[in-house]
Subunit: 232 residues, 2 copies
């Protein structure tokens, strides 16, 4: 475990007061099962706690960072961030797979790279850090490995264009976005709608679609494309 | 809102530094929609935050209170505690339904007693308390309105204590457990049963219930509580 404590210290400036907690976090149940005589504890209870520690840390961050996002958007973002696939990647980014103690069977079954195992490990580590220190220490750690990704838009994929446009524009404060139907054409069975999107009275884009909703999405997409291209 | 601040102070010793946060927590979106000229904020973002605040507070409590419960049991308990029906009852217990600001339509539709609305209100209040003060203040409040219920076994229904006791005792080898009916009292339509549970000839606990089955469950629960407390 010395390698791990040195790594955490040099990489993240983290020093545990109680190393037993850190060891517990990096001990998978398969290891405990193969070493029953040692009376070890696996990391599952710490994972239970860490799950909630992650949830509050991320929620607090999102709440303050996106002061103008409505609740629905915050909830969607949060669930993207705390899902297994995301935690798995955080764990890999931190190199935690190199340090977890596994049983031989688990090792042979490629458990060391298994997403659910590494996601649980990430939560267990947060749980141990919270117990050993406090929420502040956890947030400090996350501000190095998770929050920059949120800010970089890693979890904003899969969002519809209207939501993304809103997210983008509201970074710099409250803004009123409106969509206006400016044209419809074609016969009833083959109709097209044209919508323009405005913010602060200024036109940002235009879109066409077979429904009003689709046209709005296309207008938002066109606005986003423009905004992002001009920025870069 | 003065009634609410006085009530929180006298009932729970809570004084907000920023009353605007408290007011926001008790403002339903239906009220905001009917008073657009006032530029109010509804409690949905606070609810988003409060959801996570509740989760960590309850998790921390369970983790420490049940130092020997496995993760699966903790997770099951937690989900019972934070589900909508439970939060609805906490909200009612606290009399929060008397203070929430609703729109007229919502009021006429009995919104003031709607479970989801009151559950969200409870979370929003926790979110506001956390923002105004800290997690400690939230835990202090929950130690008055939620934790005693957990300790009282309110959320342990649906759990099979007999199975759990058997699992617990058999960790250290095969053991024979028996349940004995030792008393019944009350008239036929209001009868109570008293059961004692034994293992290895030793009494481990006693339980009372309206059916023999229920009394057995309570006896097993009492035995488990004793065993788990003595271990820690």
């Amino acid at each position: 475990m010395q390698a791990l404590t040195e790594y955490l210290n040099s990489e993240y400036g983290i020093r545990f007061n109680n190393n037993a907690l850190l060891i517990e976090a990096f001990t998978h149940s398969s290891y405990v099962n193969e070493h029953r005589h040692l009376d070890l504890t696996d990391n599952e209870r710490l994972e239970f706690l860490g799950d909630a520690v992650l949830e509050i840390s991320v929620s607090d961050y999102l709440f303050h960072e996106y002061g103008h996002h409505p609740e629905g958007l915050l909830t969607r973002l949060r669930s993207e961030i705390v899902r297994e696939t995301s935690l798995y990647h955080f764990s890999l980014d931190c190199g935690f797979d190199q340090y977890v103690r596994l049983g031989k069977g688990e090792e042979q079954n490629a458990g060391r790279k298994r997403p659910s195992l590494l996601a649980d490990l990430f939560e267990a580590f947060l749980g141990s850090l919270y117990l050993d220190q406090d929420l502040k220490a956890v947030e400090n750690f996350l501000s190095k490995v998770v929050f920059p990704k949120i800010k970089g838009g890693v979890f904003s994929h899969g969002m519809d264009f209207k939501t993304k446009l809103q997210e983008y524009l509201q970074q710099s404060g409250e803004v009123s976005i409106s969509y206006e139907l400016v044209d419809t054409f074609g016969p009833a069975h083959d109709r097209f709608f044209v919508v323009e999107v405005y913010a602060g009275g200024q036109i940002l884009g235009q879109g066409k679609g077979r429904t009003k909703k689709q046209a709005e999405q296309m207008a938002a997409k066109s606005a986003l494309d423009d905004l992002l291209n001009n920025k870069s």
